[in-house]
Amino acid sequence: MSPRREIIVPAVHAPDTASSFGQAVSTVVRGGDFLFVRGLTAVDPQSGERVRGTTASETRQILTHLKQLLEAAGSSLEKVVKVNVWLHSMLEAPNMNEVYARFFSDPPPARTVCGARLPDGVKVIIECTALA
């Protein structure tokens, strides 16, 4: 039987079109047994508007949003298997980790963290894969 693909949460409508958080990206996609969540940045879940802050505050904003997204999809933070985190600077890794640890209970998912050039002054991007 063909494995199921379904858009669980479609694109976020972002008024900030210059940063291309536009419509060509679904937020949560189901594929087979897993949910694939897009790389999330700190946005207001209602308006889709950027929320700028510190790495720690952006991490908190993102993970709060992620919790909502997963629960609405019938999943949860406990079902996350793997997280990828991109930081604008690896110096911020401990700040991100401190907030992150408050969201993921024991035992936490697998994770890889690295530093890269992120768009528009974004401090952190978090993507994950979870069991549906």
Binding site: N97, Y100, P109, C114, L131
Partner: protein
């Protein structure tokens, strides 16, 4: 549904040694999702900084330990993100990498990224269980 693969050697428990809020690997849906593997001593957890080559050898040794403890192996790797601190070392990476994936390598994307603790290389992998 989701199995946590514990560190097969205490040095690979980065949570204990470095406070990294992550499990070494998670098995689900027939796949094993590993946390980014770093060149740390598998027994002591000490950082093993060196050349890209020496760091890659430590990483592959650690991955072998981890995957085999989970009933998998390097031969069952499916996807690798090879993080390197500078793409100038691409050929060096290939020379050491080749030694570990000779029996049918997985897919790979090389990321020239900023890696923690000034390491030169890190491998972010998914394997089949």
């Amino acid at each position: 549904m989701r199995d946590v693969i514990a560190a097969p050697a205490t040095g690979l428990d980065l949570r204990q040694h470095y406070g990294h809020h992550q499990s070494p690997a998670i098995r689900a849906g027939g796949l094993i999702f590993c946390s980014g593997m770093l060149p740390v001593d598998p027994q002591t957890g000490e950082r093993r900084h060196g050349t890209l080559t020496s760091e890659a050898h430590v990483i592959f040794g650690n991955l072998k330990l981890l995957l085999e403890s989970a009933g998998s192996s390097l031969d069952r790797l499916v996807q690798v993100h090879a993080l390197i601190y500078d793409s100038i070392e691409y050929d060096v990476l290939n020379r050491v990498y080749r030694q570990y994936v000779a029996n049918g390598p997985p897919t790979r994307t090389v990321w020239a990224a900023q890696i923690e603790a000034g390491f030169k290389v890190e491998l972010d992998v998914i394997a089949a269980a």
